[in-house]
């Protein structure tokens, strides 16, 4: 550990030292910087024109607000500074021979322009300023993370950026990367994701959720988390909406490039192992051979179980963008982002043994053999984005954008079940080597038009085709029994026997065809009426096939020398093979009224949903197909009252829904040893009432303080529970469990002191839901009984406390920006158990990340990012006081808590990135 810190310090030293070469002097110079008169913040991209009456020079300010004219003829110059949104300023300077003029020019904001969205949109949209302003003028509750903030942050995927937003926590995947956002304690099913405001489909085989680690953060202009809906927004968000705004076409030639190399410290003492997946066919055996085909063992490629060690697992990341206004009418931006990452982690896991035992206490937890897992995850993340803007004239423009994201992941998971080898004890382990290759794609194409029809009437429309896919052509779980004898810690004998093991294939494809149209009519000054609608046709096709090779317990040496005489099991359904079609027709009407200190945005939205599914369920059982038609009426209102120029009070109400996941409808039964799982064709959508109250206070330009609270009332929330469907027949299935509440408090602030800045947010959330849980206990006469009871708990994934704190250091003179970020996520339920008191809780986590930017020249910046400085693990525990019964075996690894059972301990170590950025 100390060694690591040393390494970090050395890097910091290196980069700081390098930056000293950046400052050079030349003669006959007029230079300076342009700042905001109130905050002193540098203004980026301001235009400076100097003229001595004969010759005129023009330049723009850089990232730090500075400008520089070199080799200027000495004399008297008129210097004019212009910046959109600010009052122009003109002054006179005198440049002596071989002299240097260095002046700081402060500009003041147009006083009336704070109220106009249209003006701010001409600011640098990637800046923090713009983000704050948009938050401030927005009619609804919204949080924005700017591209600038993302750039300086330690995060390289959107999944990780999200956790910096107030009231947002993320669910991490086995790499330790943020995967799904939990907004105000509401899990992924309560939120949706958009690109430039257009909803995108999900590659997931069961849910509507978008794994946010698909998206590289470098393509973003800003990330918005919208927490209160307006009538013009789709209504199926109860928690919130994550909107990724991709970089927009610039007004002049802009190109950027950055590249970096990195390393995950976990790999220092765990070799990174992977397999060769090139040429893998993205088809299932049935898709290749037709459904009548009888698969043979030779159809399954065991080469994917040949692991090789990567000698130098160096992470690489490249991003480039170019944009220009080619003609007066046509502008474009094209951007690409590519990441090639080696991620490692390890995990100790106590798998729930399914059913608890009734003694000594009811629901005493029971575990399957303890597992030790080591992950080697190879990621290739590609994001591309192209946007074309065409302005026919001042009043009519169209734009086309296409965004394509692809994440390839090859995972080798070594899993030891039993821990004999881990603990060097005699015994039997089952060893599982898993190879997974998954390709996830999200592709969005939008054609958009904006028309100012008259002074008062404007119309915009969008035509959208998007697609999301997940293909898992490799999912193999090699399994062998490993009987070992250890003598005084030394392995003295070992017998391996290969077990039957599966090859799984999953394809999931979701296609969206949507059309949107909106019209805005200015009824009077300060009174805008808008109406519009959208239609979406969405199809989801899911295919799952599983084939088990019969290994006959043969003596195992290598998988290449193994012999498979036949298939043991063929499962081409498993309930995961289904098709869903969803048609949504929605329309709305809204009024925006600005008067004096008031701003009110309100109206209603109507969403008609027509959902059908068709499954592989036997025709002899009910529910093979289903059709659901329902209509939601969703009113909402957002009120803003400006107490003074720099502070305001907001209140909002909206009604939102959450549609069941496709899979949840389908009553295919997945039998299990402990309980059977089944979809529920009677499931209803979730409805909600949501209210928000917020006070915000701005100090100057970038400093602000916001405090808010929210309340949510959920009708028919969907949760899983064990229920009796017929006499003696119980299934674990999604149910509508009455009503639930969720409320909380949010606090956000930013404060700058000269070169230092501090920003943070804190949120408190409390939710409560009551569902059925099963209890296994002993009755008075000593018989064991199982019965259902109700238990109240927080919503899955809801943390009571979430906090972010960042310390920023910014020296324009030295060209250094540094950020130390801390994320705290309070305890939350990670997995819901069907049994009372046996939910798996994730312990509160805090993570410390560091990043550093050093300007090497006007256009080149060197940067470094270090994540998880303190090597913080993710720990899951059972907060069950009946601890100990299973622990008849003492000395179980990882048990460090006296009042809980630690059931999972994930270790990720630090990750480093060092690179440069060219702008």
């Amino acid at each position: 550990m100390q060694h690591q810190i040393g390494k970090i310090l050395f890097f910091i030293f290196l980069i700081t030292a390098f930056s000293c070469f950046a400052d050079e002097t030349t003669e006959n110079i007029i230079k300076g910087k342009v700042t905001d008169n109130k905050t002193g913040e540098p203004l980026i991209d301001a235009t400076i024109t100097i003229s001595n009456g004969i010759k005129t020079y023009t330049t723009k300010t850089g990232l730090d607000g500075s400008f520089r004219f070199k080799k200027i003829i000495p004399g008297v110059y008129k210097e004019k500074v212009q910046f959109i949104g600010y009052d122009d300023i003109e002054l006179s300077v005198v440049l002596k021979k071989d002299g240097i003029v260095n002046n700081t020019i402060t500009l003041s904001l147009h006083s009336n322009q704070l109220h106009e969205v249209t003006i701010t949109s001409k600011l640098n949209k990637e800046s923090d300023n713009y983000a704050r302003k948009t938050e401030r003028i927005a009619s609804n509750v919204i949080n924005i993370i700017s591209a600038k903030a993302i750039e300086i942050s330690p995060d390289i995927t959107v999944g990780n950026v999200l956790q910096r937003a107030p009231g947002v926590s993320v669910v991490k995947n086995s790499n330790g990367d943020g995967n799904y956002a939990i907004i105000r304690g509401m899990a992924d099913r309560y939120n949706y994701t958009t690109i430039n405001g257009i909803k995108i489909p999900s590659p997931d085989d069961m849910t509507r959720s978008i794994p946010m680690d698909i998206f590289p953060s470098d393509l973003l202009e800003r990330l918005e988390v919208v927490k209160s809906l307006t009538p013009s927004m789709e209504g199926d968000a109860i928690g919130g909406v994550t909107n990724m705004v991709l970089k927009d076409a610039p007004k002049h030639l802009t190109y950027t490039f950055n590249g970096s190399l990195g390393y995950n410290n976990f790999l220092a003492d765990h070799p990174f192992t992977t397999f060769n997946y090139t040429g893998v066919p993205f088809k299932t055996p049935y898709e290749i051979h037709g459904s009548g085909y009888v698969p043979k063992p030779s159809d399954f490629n065991i080469k994917y179980l040949d692991y090789k060690t990567v000698a130098l697992p160096v992470n690489q990341s490249f991003n480039a963008s170019i944009g220009n206004k080619i003609t007066k009418k046509l502008g474009f931006i094209a951007a690409i982002s590519y990441q090639h990452l080696f991620k490692g982690s390890s995990s100790l896991f106590y798998p729930p043994g399914g059913q608890p035992q009734p003694i000594p206490a009811p629901n005493t937890p029971v575990f399957a053999p303890i597992e030790y897992r080591v992950y080697s995850n190879l990621q290739n993340r590609l994001g591309t984005h192209l946007k074309l803007n065409y302005e026919f004239n001042k009043n009519n423009s169209i734009s086309f954008y296409t965004a394509f994201f692809q994440l390839d992941q090859a995972q080798h998971r070594y899993r030891e079940m039993g821990l004999s080898n881990y603990a060097h004890q005699s015994g039997q382990d089952y060893i599982n080597n898993r190879s997974i290759f998954e390709r996830q794609i999200v592709w969005n194409n939008t054609l958009q038009g904006k028309h100012q029809v008259t002074d008062k009437l404007s119309v915009d429309w969008s035509l959208v085709y998007s697609q999301a896919q997940s293909k898992i052509p490799i999912w193999i779980d090699e399994l062998y029994s490993d009987i070992v004898t250890y003598n005084a810690g030394k392995l003295t004998s070992e017998r391996k026997n290969l077990q039957d093991f599966p090859f799984n294939f999953t394809h999931s494809k979701e296609t969206d065809n949507s059309a949107y149209v909106n019209g805005h009519y200015q009824l009077a000054n300060g009174l805008m009426f808008s109406t519009g609608g959208m239609y979406r046709h969405k199809t989801k096709n899911n295919v799952f096939e599983s084939y088990q090779l019969y290994a006959n317990n043969q003596v195992f040496q290598t998988v290449d020398s193994a012999y498979f005489s036949r298939l043991k099991r063929v499962d081409t359904t498993d309930g995961l093979t289904y098709q869903s079609v969803e048609d949504i027709l929605a329309y709305y009407a809204q009024l925006k009224w600005e008067y004096n200190k008031w701003e009110v945005l309100g109206g209603f939205r109507v969403e008609n949903t027509n959902h059908t599914y068709s499954s592989e369920l036997s025709i002899y059982l009910p529910g093979k197909t289903g059709k659901y038609v329902y209509t939601d009426f969703l009113p909402s209102i957002n009120i803003k009252y400006k107490l003074a120029n720099n502070n305001a009070l907001r209140a909002s109400y909206f009604s939102g829904i959450s549609r069941p996941n496709y899979f949840e409808y389908i009553p295919v039964i997945k039998p299990g040893d402990f309980f059977d799982q089944q979809g529920n064709p009677d499931i209803k959508r979730i409805q909600s009432h949501n209210a928000d109250l917020r006070y915000e206070h701005y100090f100057g330009f970038e400093d602000y303080f916001m405090i808010g609270s929210f309340y949510k009332y959920l009708i028919n929330p969907i949760e899983f529970g064990l229920v009796q469907i017929t006499t003696g027949q119980f299934v674990y299935q999604p149910q509508n469990f009455g009503n639930a509440t969720n409320y909380g408090l949010e606090l956000t602030f930013t404060k700058h002191f000269r070169n230092f800045g501090i920003n943070g947010n804190y949120s408190y959330t409390k939710s409560s839901i009551t569902t059925t849980k099963t209890v296994f206990a002993q009755d008075n006469s000593g018989n064991y009984i199982k019965y259902n009871t109700m238990q109240t708990r927080p919503l899955q994934g809801q943390s009571d406390h979430i906090a972010n704190l960042s310390l920023l250091y910014k020296s324009i003179k030295r060209g250094i920006e540094a950020e130390l970020s801390w994320v705290y996520t309070g305890k939350r339920i990670a997995y819901i158990s069907p049994y009372k008191d046996l939910d798996y809780w994730q312990r509160a986590t805090s993570q410390l990340d560091f990043s550093l930017d050093v300007k090497a020249s006007r256009r080149i910046t060197l940067f470094m990012k270090v994540t998880n400085l303190t090597n913080n693990p993710t720990i899951l525990e059972l907060r069950n006081t009946a601890k100990g019964y299973y622990f008849n075996n003492v000395n179980y690894p990882g048990q460090t808590s006296s009042n809980s059972i630690i059931v999972q301990h994930d270790n990720f170590n630090q990750s480093f990135f060092v690179g440069f950025r060219f702008k």
Partner: protein, 492 residues
């Protein structure tokens, strides 16, 4: 002008709530509909000799032959009755899906057969698992739905079954594609009766009783399970008697009871008595698991008068939840398990030392206040067991502790139960004799097992008793094992 504006505003704003109200009224009466397809039911056809498939009901006439050419369904509420001497030949990997009732009523002279026509058995010692037809699953199995009230099989031979449920989703709940059992029963309130029958071969559990009332008596189980599976695997809510059965060459256990699954007020309660278990447990992959008779995971019951010959482990009862050499053990309802009068015989030292399964490594175990390790393996030698190990072991013995000593090791080949025809000692251990044909497991008149049984308890008799459709219960017998010297017990 300004006033005008405000008026305008007020007018416009007054329109908003009106609009809202109007729309609410409009949509408050909107209709939300859902349409889910109901189960398809093909009316059951009265069964006729010859080819059968699809939905059938009625009676299969005595001594007729039926060829199964596709999956067979017995609808909920329908019954199929099979008279003596009927032969049901499977022409492929088809299943019986039983949502109603099935009564297969053979007799001693005219058994009913569910089998494959002209399929020869390969009852030769040493036949490899991969080529033994017993383990191939040539046809599927008898699968009952949760609506099945009665599955009654008397004098019925189930042979070469166990093909996994293929491609399509099964038409019953509780099972999934790929599952492979000869017989599957799941209705907690239903009756499963298997009497005087033969189960020959299986690819996993021969019988998976997910739940239900049962009486499994006087049957012969041979060659069940190639690398996994029990002969009679009882899960949550299974209640009944399993007695007078001969289990030979089982992969794991003969009968096994656990209370997992099926939430409800019914606890698994199994009486396992007067069974003869021979040459079992050796194909099982897992250490410490499988051999003869087993109670685990909250199951309760009585286990007496069982004769265990050359099995990997003796009667195994889990007494604490812990890990055994890396495998999970979950405690049985030990306060409600009674056992004794077990007759153990083995031709190997390893077998003798596992009459009462032991935990080789106690170093990691929790200990009682007196410092005695609490082992998950809980079977304690009983004074009326044969041989009486209790009299030969040290005072420090606790259940699960290794008990080997010179005197005990000398028990190899001792206490021969004296079957009428079976080679004891066996030529090799583990023995590859996994079948009963050619042998006779009746006791010779001078067998040490005779008269050593415990009879002061009764069968649970959870199922209807008597008549053609009810069970014929044989109460505990005075001789240990399935074959009684008075001619009662197993009739094979």
């Amino acid at each position: 002008m300004k006033q005008n504006k405000i008026k305008n505003l007020i007018f416009n704003l007054s329109g908003l709530p009106l609009l809202l109200v109007a729309t609410s009224v409009l949509f408050s009466c909107n209709k939300n509909t859902s349409t889910v397809t109901s189960a398809y039911v093909q009316v059951g056809q009265t069964v006729q000799p010859g080819n059968i498939s699809g939905s059938i009901k009625g009676t299969m006439q005595a001594n007729q032959t039926y060829y199964v050419t596709g999956d067979v369904i017995i609808n909920s509420g329908d019954s199929l009755i099979i008279q003596p001497g009927v032969k049901v030949y499977f022409k492929g990997a088809y299943n019986f899906w039983i949502k109603g009732n099935l009564f297969s009523l053979g007799n001693a002279t005219s058994p009913v057969y569910f089998t494959v026509e002209n399929q020869a058995k390969q009852d030769v010692p040493g036949t490899p698992v991969a080529s033994d037809p017993a383990f191939q699953g040539t046809w599927g199995g008898l699968w009952t739905d949760s609506s099945c009230k009665n599955l009654v099989l008397k004098w019925t031979a189930i042979q070469f079954a166990g093909a996994p449920i293929s491609a399509a989703q099964p038409p019953i709940v509780g099972a999934s594609t790929g599952d492979s059992y000869d017989i599957f029963f799941q209705n907690t309130n239903g009756n499963f009766i298997l009497e005087d029958s033969w189960i020959y071969g299986a690819t996993d559990d021969a019988i998976r009783l997910k739940s239900g009332k049962f009486s499994v008596m006087r049957n012969t189980f041979e060659k069940c399970g190639p690398t996994g599976g029990d002969c009679f695997n009882v899960k949550g809510g299974g209640v009944g008697d399993c007695a007078y059965n001969l289990f030979i060459g089982c992969n794991t256990n003969g009968p096994k009871a656990s209370d997992i699954g099926q939430p409800g007020s019914v606890q698994t309660n199994c009486n396992f008595y007067n069974n003869t278990v021979v040459n079992s447990g050796f194909r099982c992959v897992e250490l410490g698991r499988g051999g003869s008779i087993n109670y685990e995971q909250q199951a309760r019951g009585l286990a007496y008068n069982n004769l265990i010959v050359n099995c990997r482990y003796g009667l195994r009862i889990i007494g604490a939840t812990q890990s055994y050499l890396g495998n999970a053990l979950v405690v049985a309802d030990t306060s409600n398990i009674k056992y004794g009068n077990t007759f153990n015989y083995s031709d190997s030292i390893a077998g003798v030392n596992q009459f009462y399964p032991v935990t080789p490594d106690t170093s990691n175990m929790m200990r009682t206040g007196a410092g005695v390790p609490v082992s998950g393996l809980w079977t304690r030698p009983q004074a009326n067991d044969i041989p009486n190990i209790m009299s030969m072991i040290s005072a420090n013995y606790y259940p699960g502790a290794p008990y080997a000593n010179a005197a005990i090791n000398a028990l190899v080949g001792q206490n021969n139960p004296l079957f009428v025809k079976f080679p004891l000692p066996e030529a090799a251990t583990p023995s590859s004799i996994a079948y009963a044909s050619g042998y006779d497991f009746h006791l010779q008149s001078n067998s040490p097992a005779i008269g050593k049984g415990y009879t002061a308890f009764r069968a649970i008799a959870s199922v209807p008793v008597g008549g053609d459709f009810g069970a014929n219960i044989t109460q505990p017998g005075s001789d240990i094992g399935a074959y009684q010297s008075n001619g009662s017990g197993n009739m094979h």
